[in-house]
Symmetry: C2
Subunit: 129 residues, 2 copies
DNA sequence: CTGCATGCAAACCGTTTGCATCCCC
DNA sequence: GGGGATGCAAACGGTTTGCATGCAG
């Protein structure tokens, strides 16, 4: 079983609070307010650990930084191609699609991710000027 | 118009030859056989340039390295979660899905990507032993 | 007490960039 | 001759890792 240290507890708590799908660095900054001496390495190590334990999800999509999500159920995301911000999308997940895919390839299909690319409200506003 | 230098020509030629969706480094190694003095920077610069010119596509998907694709039409991919290898998937692209998404968010939807996660034949073989 | 977890800093790796040189118009 | 393109090497940014110390069980 995974040991419940203070750091892990607070990381999970803070990740659950936000809907912004923070990067490791963003979460580090958030958590630092409560644990000023926490190290970035600890954040990365524990996020990775919790991903493996199935407690959180790592968003394996575009962009150069990985993002983390306390929601573990399968759902889709939109990413702003200008600022990188991400949001959940409450679309019905198409389960049949993995079966279709399985028929088209010799890969053993384990799952799928969908990422919509878009422009977030803030960036629309900013670029309109 | 984009100047067609020897380097660009050969990069495009070699990228078109392979279906493996190579990373910049992989393509660098391939191209080096014909242009031993080419620099990695040139590879990155020109790939980026060709992406902007719409001549090739950059795969904005998971994994730590970006991959490039000479096919510019919208299509989906499978990625092996063990070795990272990618393959095309000839599934019909669902266009309506972006309309559905648009109704669910305040982001302006520009497109979408689908990435299937799987295990490639080689890794299936290797892990079975 | 004992081993896993932490903080810190250095290492890593993919990518980008600055710069002197080169080549093509 | 001039402006973009190149090769090279250094810089960069996100992530990982090694190690001495600390803390939970």
């Amino acid at each position: 079983m995974i040991r419940l240290t203070t750091q892990r507890q607070i990381l999970l708590e803070e990740l659950s609070k936000v809907s912004s799908h923070p990067t490791a660095c963003e979460l580090y900054e958030i958590v630092r307010k409560r644990l000023p001496r926490i190290g970035l390495g600890t954040v990365y190590r524990n996020l990775e650990l919790m991903v493996h334990a199935g407690m959180i999800r790592k968003l394996e999509l575009g962009g150069k930084q990985k993002r983390f999500d306390a929601r573990t159920d399968l759902h889709y995301h939109v990413r702003c191609s200008f600022c990188g911000k991400m949001a959940d999308l409450s679309l019905p997940v198409e389960k049949k699609i993995t079966e279709h895919a399985a028929q088209k390839t010799s890969y053993k299909i384990l799952g799928h991710n969908v990422e919509f690319i878009g422009e977030c409200p803030a960036c629309q506003q900013e670029r309109r000027t």
